[in-house]
Structure formats: C-alpha cells, structure tokens
Amino acid sequence: MVLKILNTLITVGVGILAALVLYWLLNKLAELLPGPWEDRVKPFLYILPAYAALVFYLVYPAVQTVVFSFANPTSTEWVGWDNYTQLLQSESFQDTLFNTLLWMIVVPVVVVALGLAMAVLADRLNPRWESTSKTVIFLPMAISAVGAGVVWGLIYDYRPEGREQIGLQNAIITALGFDPVAWLQVDEFHINSFFLMIMLMWAQVGFSMVLLSAAVKGVPEDTLEAARIDGANERDIFFRVVVPQIWGTVLTVYVTTLIGVMKIFDIVYVMTNGGFNTNVVGNEFFNQLFSNFNNGAAAAIVVMLMLATVPIMIYQVRNFRREESMA
C-alpha cells in the first residue's frame, strides 16, 4: 500500500517535471529563432504537446477504427464494405437501430421536460425545501449504472405466481389481485425498452434540473415583473418569457443528453444484455468486440455511431460559438 502511494507520487512528480522540462526546451527552441519569428512560432510550439496528445489519443484511434471497419474480425485481411452490409442487412441489427432511435427520441425530451418542470417548481419552494428536494432528485446521478441495475432489478424483479414477490412492481400488482408480470420480457410496443429508459431518466433528470435551475434563476426579475404588469398569466410568463431566455441551456442539456443516449450501454447490458428485443447500438458494439471478438463489425458499428454523432456535435459547437459571441 505504502509502496503504491509512493509509486503514484513519484509518477506524478516525474510527469510534472517532464512536462516542465519539455516546455522549457520548446521555449529555448523558439528563442533560437531570429527576431519576429520567435513570437510567430512560439504559440504553435506551446500548443504542440496538447495538439499531439489530441492527435495521438483521439484522432489516431478514430482513423484506425475506420480502417479496421473495413477488415475482418481479426483485422488481418480487407473485406471491403462487408461489415457494413452484413450489419445493416441483419434483422436483429435493424431492431437494434430502431431501439436506439426510440431511446434518442424519448429520453432527451423527457429528461429536459422533467428537469425543467422540477427546476421551476423547486424554485417556488422556500430555500430549505428547495435544496432538500433538489438533493434528493440529484442523488441518483451519483449512482453508477450497474448500481442502478441493482436498484431497479429489485423494482422489476419477477417470481413465478405463488412465490413471494420481492419485486416492487409485482408486489403491488399481486397485492391488487393481478398475476405477476415478467416486466423486462414484455416487448409489445417496446414496453420493456421504456422500462430501461426510465432508469436512465431517473439517473439523468437531476443533472438536467441543476443546469436548468441555474438558468431559471438567471432570468432577470424585471422581465418577469414587466410581463406581470402587462397582465400576462403565469403560463404565458413561463412559455413566453422564461423559456426563450433559457433556450440556450435547454438546447445544451438536450444535446448533451442526446449524445449520452446514443452511446447508452451499461443499463441495457446489466438488465437484459439486449435480450427480449431491447438491444441498442452500444450494447451490440460491446458484444461484437468482447464476446464475438469481431473487430471488424465492432469498428463498423462505432464508425456508424460516430457519423451519427458528428452533426449533433457540429450543431452543439456552433451553438456554443453563437452564445459566446452574444455574451
């Protein structure tokens, strides 16, 4: 233990020292250059390590992934577009895409709507109750998805009829005289997928609420007063005065959640591993890579996911820029 701590400290120390030496050397290098060139080149040299790290850890793996997506399971031979065509033609992958789409449509909207509702409602409470209720709502955020799986496993748990039901939902409905239901098996209208989505919403609403709450509190009081003087009712004030002023935050929360949802893996893996038609892209990727050892198909899935995320990222970045220029 002591040895490990010592090791960590030494590693951190050496790391910092190496970084200092590197920058000092780069600086010296720039100073060797004649007159105006020193100032011209210096910023680039300073940003070089960060840029190199970005290329090395982000761009290079991304390009490598694209390359692998055109190769066979062990990445030893080219197979052209086979990975893509096989995936897109398989019925189970089409179901997986459809499920992912459902997640993308439902979860971000609900998370933003619920978060906003809670932010506004909590805002009306006295400060002590406001912070208490917010803490409670924020709490699930601190629980890992696997932990959430344990919690929600106890809610959705199913035992055959006649045995004691330890699942909350089944305990309730059997007490009311109905037969127990194997909740996660019910795939009519993708109900089981919705049960899984509830878990993510439960975990994410707190995050959405905190950000939106800050935005709501930032709405200038005088705009609200002006609206009241003009005779606007509370509904109009909310939709026409508050919401437009916090729209930027709403979009940010929406997009952040959306990107998170596109990558959703852990909840599905823990609860059903994609069984009963609840599979999503993230889980399929994991299974391709770690149970099928199929580098090609896994890479192809990631590439498709990357392509789908890019437009959203671009939109997000533009949005940030616009807000910055406005501020």
């Binding site: 910023p43 290329v55 761009v59 290079y60 390009v63 490598q64 390359v67 692998f68 190769a71 066979n72 399971p73 062990t74 990445s75 030893t76 031979e77 080219w78 398989s90 189970s92 199913y158 035992r159 055959p160 009829e161 006649g162 045995r163 194997a182 996660l184 098996q185 795939d187 893996y269 823990v270 059903t272 591993n273 994609g274 069984g275 009963f276 038609n277 299974n287 770690f290 149970s291 099928n292 050892f293 199929n294």
Partner: protein, 441 residues
Amino acid sequence: MRLTAKRRRTAFAATAAALALTTTGCLGSSDDGGGGGESGGDDGVVEIIGTTDPLVFDGLKAKIEEEAEAAGIEVDMQRVDNINQLILTRIQAGDPPDIAIIPQPGVIKQIVDRGEGVELTDDIVPADMISDMTPGTLEAGQIDGTQYGLMISMNVKSLVFTNKQAWEEAGYEAPETLDDLAALTEQIKSDGGTPWCFGIESGAATGWPATDWFEDLVMRYGGADVYNQWVTNEVKFDSDVVRQAADYFESTVLTEGNVPGGRGSIASVAFGDAEDTMWEDDPGCWMFKQGNFVVSADFMPQDVVDNVDERVGVFGFPPAEAGGENPVLGGGDLATLLEDNEDSRAMMEILADVDLGTTAAPESSFISPHTEFDNSLYPSELTRQIADVAYQADPFLFDGSDQMPGEVGAGSFWKEMTAWISEQQDLDTTLTNIDDSWPSS
C-alpha cells in the same frame, strides 16, 4: 493568430490525409506479432494463469506449489477473472504465460490459430500418465486431432438433482431412458406436483441453461459424432436431430404445468433460484437439471449444503436407450502449454499426475478426470455419485456452447433460446437465426 476558414480546412485535410496514409495498410499481420517462444520464456519461473472456481484453484495451487518445490521449479500461479480475453491479449503482446488453464476449447483453438500453443506430445505428457482419463476428456483438448489442452479438473452437467427425502417418500426412481424420464415427468404431474425446477435468467448470460438441455439431448439422439458435427455447424441447428431435441424439451419442460409459473416465467427466473422451493417438505418442483457446481451455498440453502448426503439426491441424465451409448455432458479446465522449456514441461507432468487433486478434492467441488483418482478424498457421497456419473461416460463430451464460436456459443444460442422459450418467436425462426449467426470464416 487566427487562421482563415479556408486555411483551417486545408490544414485539417492535410492532417487527415497524413494520418490516413500512416495508418492504412497497417493491419497487423497474424504471424509477426506472436512468436512468443523467444520472449519471456526461460526465466526460471513457470507462470501459470487460470480461472477455476476459487476453492478449486486454491486447492490445486497448494499441491502444485508443493510438487514444484520438490522438483526444484519456481512457480507463479495466479487466478484471473477473464482469462479468455486476457490470454489472447497477452499472446498478441508477445508475452504469454508459460501455462494457461483454460475452460473453453474454443479459446485454445483461437490460440492455435494464432500460431501459439505447444503440442502435448508423448515426451511432454507420457501416455501412461493419462491412460486412465475418462473417455472423451483427452479429445476435449484436441484441436483437429492434435493434443494442445490437457484436462486437469472436470465438471459434470448431465445431472438431475432432487429433494432426497421427498423423493424417497414419493417412491420415485431414477429413470433409465429418456422415455422413462418423460413418463416420470407425467407421473409427478398426475401426483399433483410440478416436475421441473427451471430458470434461465443469468444477467448478461441469460439463456445458457437452456443450451445445456439441447446439448444433452442432441448427443443422446444423434450420438457423439453427430454432436461433434453439430458443434462445428456441419449439422445445422435447423436439422432433424435438433428438432427432435427441441420437441422432447418442449413437451417435457415447457408444457403448461411442468415448471412453476409456466413457460413464460422461465426467462425471468434466475437459474440458481429455480430450485429454491424444491427443498420444502412439499416440494414446489421436483427435479433440477444442472451442473455439479450448483451444489454450493451460492445456489442452495445453507442447511441443504450442510447436509448434502441427507438432503440432496442425484441421478445422471438418462441415455436415449438403456444399455446404449451413454454420453455425458460436462466441462473442464484444460492446461495449455504456451512456452516450451524444461521447467514448464516438468510442470505439465505435475499437472497430468493422477494425484494432482488430492488437496483440492476434500475442500472444493473438484472432480478429477482420472478414473483412478482416490475417490475417498471427495468430501461427500453426493460428490462420489457425481464423479461416478462422469467416470461411466461413454464418452464424456465437452459443453458444446463453449466450443462454438463466441457469436453463437455465448451469443445467439443463448439469446434465441431465450426468445423461443419466452414465446417471442417460433422454433423455425429460432433455429434459422442461430444458423445464420454462424460466422462465415
């Protein structure tokens, strides 16, 4: 220092192009990464990694360390959790352990495909040391007829557990054939009982207990050869023998009234909880087909485990016909030699010894693949009965789903079975889907 949009785009394109150039065409070729023989290797310490059940592992480790010391070999034996991935990663990195104890022949095949693994010739493991191995256990370690893995401990899956007292009071007898078993199922039902305890929920691995049923039935209806062809997909899932197995399984287990809660409950009942009600005086279900590992406080109530010989009855899953071929389904841990040097060869000899399990057997669920193993060392009569089922195997056949490619054996086979049992799709779709998921290469 702002670049114009155009220049920025040019810079980006240039970077991307440069990267693409450096990375394209650099698919790692399979034959230059490995060659682990010359690296690591002869450092005087024999490194063994394995993934056996912790109690079994500790028992074996004690014996191995003792023997190694006597032979003057230094040994470093570690238990790891995900050996299947770890071993391939370490081979790819050119740093394999000397010996890996692997529970899946499919992984050994992947190792051999990567040009690794040392053939266990007669001068490494002398024939007379392994002449008493249970029939079929040697074959389990062969890849295309060449011996790469040597089974050092085994587990048995063709077992049906019962509530011994209730069973004896009711006067039921162990069935001799599959037809007897079906008749017994009807008998229990007409006596007002629920014949089978069955659940297939197992988290991310949901469905696997159903695959054991299919394996047991396919090897009985088709015989060992057909079974082995089925495992390699030469015999399709969509075939008469698999349909015959499915029919038997469906009429014996899935019929309404044959499991508590009916067919719809199977996919949501944890496989290890299915027998919870079997131990009551008036059993909630009567027969529980599962591997020997299930006799443990992890799955059975503590008071049952504390009195196994009074509480737990067991019989071997019966053959198709009395006196005919008697295949037994099971698994085992296969010692695989990855670094060929003097010390690791000596270690393989220690692992092949009939007495390897003398410290593990009394303390754990260990069952030796050697029929001449001193069976008085097993901790209970129940374990001796289980070992007997295995030793009478003709032949012992390795768990099929563990030998199939991961896409099938740890993927579609589980998932499609789950979908079929929970009535989300019919049998035709199920069998075709599994065949379709078979990787082409």
